[in-house]
């Protein structure tokens, strides 16, 4: 909110510090000052009033009170006394009806007759201008002036334009319409509070006046409204109508109901002075439940306990008094002071609120620095973070670079990857079409990274660790899986951590699949997961629609009988749709599931003290034979004595028959409890060879 430096000065008995100093004082004790600008002989300060203090500081008097407390000055309030015309009674001229006291706890009105609507005097125009308001006429300007001075929004109706000279505060009826002073049309509903005359709504309560009974140059008699509205109702209406005003800003934060009276008197007095009006006697005041000041008992020891520094009692009392709090001596017992909170301080309700007031005015810079006294309990290790960071390190060692992408995808991306739109989680208010849906997979945005980087690199390896989102359909079933479920009204969201990545090459990357498979093996092995195997990718009907993978060149990554992710070539259809020429091999791992296997499986393997021996084995097999089939035979026969089998060559050359290929293995034999003698090794090796040759198409080369 904008404040005039000179205007603030009017309420203080001593000279304000220079504008520049004022900024830093306010920043350290009250509010941040966004900007300062010199205008003629004045300064305009843009002060960022925090949302809890709109109630008492959205006014020049409010800020002046802060300054008085900080500088230890005296506050000089303006004159609120008025001269009334005893011949006219306001209540005889206008009738006020409030239908809902929750929605409108107070409605005060005055009637002023015989006014002369004219231009405002220069001093008034200037003050409004500095604070960013346009001058309209003397009457309207005064209402705005008093709002900037006291914080109470006021509204003025031309009495003669009000049907039956009546004002009713009620909720709008469905279908009712209003045109505001600035010619905007709104369609209303039952949740919007209006001020109406006998016939139609004449103002949006607490937000903006209607055009109908607005003041014009012919206006003679006015009704001055100074009211208090329910903050939630004003806020909802303002949001619904998408209409924010100086008045709605103040009302939605809550204002002191006791402020209507001094503000209406102040405005009436000024209208009398500047527009030569006559004030009818009395305020027509609907105020069924008078708001009384709260009392808080402040334990002096708690001030020190919370702030950590001792502040002398005398200073505590002085700070509170200067801020407008009353200390009730009669109710003060040893160690506790009874504090009466002014009704303008809607933000103060617990002792901690008072401690903040004391702390900030006293100065946080004076509070000593002291290390906490605590018992030493070493922090528990967060295993989720441990394994996340551990895997990132492994991938980095394998020459992968980490990317972080947005957690959203566009509709176009969803379509490219075959996601069913209605199964995705949609954002109600995306900033752009790129944020339409929460990402159901990390892959779409990783592919976007491919597009970007192919402009500069012909080969790269990237990965991302992040969350993917989906709808929870069967909650009971979902809970058994290691994942996070967040419950909303009629919608529950599953969050899963995924680790995904890719190798991209502009040229054909024949070996990329095996390269990536080696990386995944390394990652899983280092995480202590040993029973990793790769199964042919057999998509479920649902997965078939999501066409990320080139089915013939993709595998399911399995640990024991659990599927932890996929590995494979990206579908050529997607490459085509994305207009990428090159070769991309991906992995996509459900990290929550994977980590669960880690915690269960990470176990030290005894290193055998007995020597190992290596034998090589080369086998000629038909072209379609899978390595895993050969492995299985060797493992089955070799049993616990085969410690490791390493495939070191696959050969498919001219001198072999066109439909054959050869595998070459190193087999490492070792026992855990004894030295294997060469005779024993030859026997097992022989058995393996024999078993392999039982398959008539396989030929062990000797």
């Amino acid at each position: 909110m904008k404040f005039s430096y000179n205007w603030l000065q009017e309420y203080l008995d001593k000279e304000l510090p220079s504008a520049k100093d004022l900024i830093s004082i306010l920043s350290l004790k009250s509010f941040e000052v966004e900007s300062i600008k010199k205008i003629n002989k004045d300064f305009v300060l843009d002060i960022d009033i925090t949302s809890n203090r709109v109630c008492d500081c959205s006014s020049h008097i409010g800020i002046a009170r802060e300054m008085a407390a900080i500088m230890d000055y005296k506050l000089r309030l303006p004159d609120f006394k008025i001269r009334e015309n005893s011949k006219l009674l306001a209540k005889d001229i206008v009738s006020i009806e409030v239908r809902d006291k929750e929605a409108c706890p107070r409605y005060s009105a005055r009637v002023i007759t015989d006014i002369k609507v004219d231009d405002s005097p220069d001093w008034l125009k200037k003050k409004l201008e500095i604070c960013g308001l346009q001058s309209i006429n003397n009457v309207v300007d005064i209402a705005n002036y008093v709002m900037l001075e006291t914080g109470q929004p006021l509204h003025i109706f031309d009495l003669d334009k009000l049907e039956h000279k009546k004002l009713i505060v009620r909720f709008a009826e469905k279908g009712e319409k209003i045109t505001t002073l600035d010619e905007q049309n709104f369609k209303l509903n039952e949740s919007i509070l209006v001020i109406a005359d006998a016939k139609r709504p004449v103002a949006l309560a607490g937000i903006k006046g209607g055009k109908g009974p607005g003041v014009d140059s012919q206006t003679k008699t006015i009704v001055l409204e100074s009211a208090n509205f329910n903050p939630v109702i004003i806020r909802k209406a303002s949001q619904f109508l998408k209409l924010k005003t100086d008045a709605s800003w103040r009302f939605e934060h809550g204002i002191d109901a006791n402020l209507t009276e001094p503000a209406i008197n102040r405005a009436a007095k000024l209208i009398q002075e500047l527009a030569s009006g006559k004030i009818a006697q009395g305020i027509v005041d609907f105020y069924p439940e008078k708001i009384k000041p709260k009392k808080i008992f402040l334990d002096i020891d708690n001030v020190e306990k919370l702030l950590g520094g001792r502040i002398p009692l005398k200073q505590i009392k002085n700070i509170l008094t200067k801020l407008g709090f009353k200390l009730i001596a009669s109710k003060t017992v040893s160690g506790k002071i009874a504090v009466e909170v002014p009704t303008s301080r809607l933000d103060i309700s617990i002792p901690e609120d008072l401690i903040e007031e004391i702390g900030r005015i006293y100065g946080y810079e004076k509070i000593p620095v002291a290390a906490p006294k605590i018992c030493l309990i070493p922090p528990e290790k967060n295993m989720n973070i441990f394994w996340e960071e551990f895997s990132k390190d492994i991938l980095q060692e394998n020459r992968f670079s980490e990317v972080l992408n947005y957690s959203f995808i566009s509709e176009a991306q969803a379509k490219t990857f075959g996601y069913e739109i209605d199964k995705l989680l949609e954002i109600e208010n995306p900033l752009s079409s790129n944020q339409q849906y929460l990402c159901p997979s990390l892959v779409p945005n990783l592919m976007r990274n491919v597009e970007t980087n192919f402009n500069y690199f012909s080969e790269f390896k990237i990965f991302e660790m992040g969350k993917i989102f989906s709808r929870a359909t069967n909650l009971r079933k979902q809970k058994s899986k290691p994942q996070t479920v967040v419950q909303g009204n009629g919608l529950a969201v599953i969050e899963q951590r995924f680790l995904s990545g890719l190798i991209a090459r502009t040229k054909d990357g024949n070996q990329s699949f095996y390269e990536l498979k080696g990386v995944i093996d390394d990652l899983l092995n280092k995480m202590g997961i040993t029973n990793v195997w790769y199964d042919e990718y057999e998509p479920t009907p649902e997965q078939t629609k999501i066409c990320v993978w080139d089915i013939g060149k993709s595998a399911e990554i399995k640990v024991n009988d659990k599927e932890v992710g996929f590995l494979g070539q990206i579908s050529p259809k997607i490459l085509k749709k994305l207009d990428i020429t090159g070769d991309v091999v991906l992995f996509d791992i459900d990290f929550d599931t994977l980590q669960k296997l880690v915690s269960e499986e990470h176990e030290y393997q005894l290193i055998s003290p007995y020597p190992s021996a290596m034998r090589d084995l080369s086998i000629l097999v038909p072209k379609e034979t899978k390595v895993v089939d050969v492995f299985n035979v060797m493992n089955r026969i070799g049993g616990s004595l085969v410690r490791d089998i390493d495939l070191f060559d696959i050969y498919q050359g001219d001198e072999l028959h066109g439909d054959k290929k050869s595998f070459a293995f190193h087999i490492v034999y070792q026992a855990k409890d004894r030295t294997l003698e060469s005779k024993e090794i030859e026997t097992i090796h022989g058995k393996i060879v024999k078993a392999l040759e039982q398959n008539l198409e396989w030929e062990v080369r000797k």
Binding site: P231, K305, L306, P372, E402, E426, I427, L431, L438, G488
Partner: protein, 341 residues
């Protein structure tokens, strides 16, 4: 054969060893004197014919000459070997470029996040996490912001469809405080790093997807003094130099009192420059003493427990650390950027 002969021999050999310019020459000298047919060996052979008395004394001298020469040869040999390798070094071009391994890179936000986690873990803080999609109870209500509370405007929010689901993308990491306190009893000290989302237009210094670090410490008498000590220690360790801090009053519904933490500008040492908009201070974090209503919402007795909470942007710390001028680079996926870390 007399003493003089041996002395001459010794001098002569010594000279020749000295003169040898390389190992080859030295080898020749060695053969000349100590080889099978060398001069020393010859004298030994001649000795067989000498008188027994003379034989004993000359042999003694010859042996000492032999070991003297062996030592000299060894010294000279080491000397030549060293100078030899020096000679080779002059042939070696150290300025030729090194062969680079294509290494992988961690994201700068990961690097900085790890650093922050280590500092707080060393101070005894545990790391907690929470979901990125939240319901409005955890993101707002439990943090002392009931529905229609105007302070909710301080956090521009992405909502999920339908709006009535009350599900949103968390606007801060503060919901983790609530989730953690529901499950753990004090005393407690946690930090919670994580993704947060703000519904606001982006530019060089604004992003709609950010990384925040939440901190929470609850015990019987944790005070503002203690908070100052912890945050000071953190900033000092992170920036690896002495820093100045100040607290300014602020407002968050979940803390009372609330403040902003400023750090003396590290670029100008507080004198005022473009980095700190001439103020000499940089805004680092929002913080405060946990509001008793928040403690009540998780079932804690606010008369018994109190403490502080704080939150700051990991993006901002990372930008300061590496002097990155543009926040949107973090999500660009551009390897020209990522490979610099």
């Amino acid at each position: 054969m007399n003493d003089i002969d041996l002395k001459n021999l010794r001098n002569q050999a010594e000279q020749e060893i000295k003169k040898a310019k390389n190992l080859n020459e030295l080898n020749k000298v060695f053969k000349e004197y100590l080889g099978k047919k060398g001069q020393v060996s010859l004298i030994f052979k001649k000795l067989k014919n000498a008188a027994p008395k003379q034989r004993i004394s000359v042999r003694k001298e010859l042996n000492s000459l032999k070991s003297f020469l062996q030592l000299e040869f060894k010294k000279k040999q080491e000397q030549l070997e060293i100078s030899n390798s020096v000679e080779q070094k002059t042939w070696f071009d150290v300025t030729a470029p090194g062969h680079k391994e294509q290494m992988g890179h961690l994201h700068p936000l990961t690097i900085v996040k790890r650093e922050i986690m280590i500092i707080f873990q060393e101070m005894g803080f545990e790391v907690a996490q929470g979901p990125e999609v939240e319901n409005d109870w955890y993101n707002f209500d439990a943090l002392n912001m009931p529905k229609h509370h105007p302070a909710r405007d301080m956090w521009d929010t992405f909502w999920l469809k339908p709006r009535k689901s009350d599900l949103l993308l968390r606007t801060h990491t503060s919901p983790v405080q609530i989730r953690y306190m529901e499950k753990h009893k004090p005393p407690l000290k946690i930090i919670a790093p994580g993704k947060v989302f703000r519904h606001e237009a982006t530019d060089a210094s604004h992003e709609f997807q950010l990384y925040q670090l939440e901190g929470l410490m609850i015990d019987r008498d944790i005070s503002v003094s203690n908070f100052k000590a912890i945050i000071y220690e953190f900033l000092k360790r992170f920036f690896k130099k002495n820093v100045s801090i100040r607290l300014r009053p602020s407002y968050f519904p979940f803390t009372e009192p609330s403040f902003e933490i400023d750090m003396g500008c590290t670029a100008c040492e507080g004198k005022g420059c473009s980095v700190c908009s001439q103020t000499g201070w940089l805004e680092m974090a929002g913080a405060g003493m946990v509001n008793p209503n928040v403690l009540k919402n998780v079932g804690l007795d606010s008369k018994e427990w109190q403490g502080f909470a704080f939150g700051f942007g990991i993006d901002r710390l990372t930008m300061m650390r590496y002097k990155i001028p543009e926040i949107r680079l973090f999500h660009s996926g551009d390897l020209r950027f990522l490979k610099q870390f």
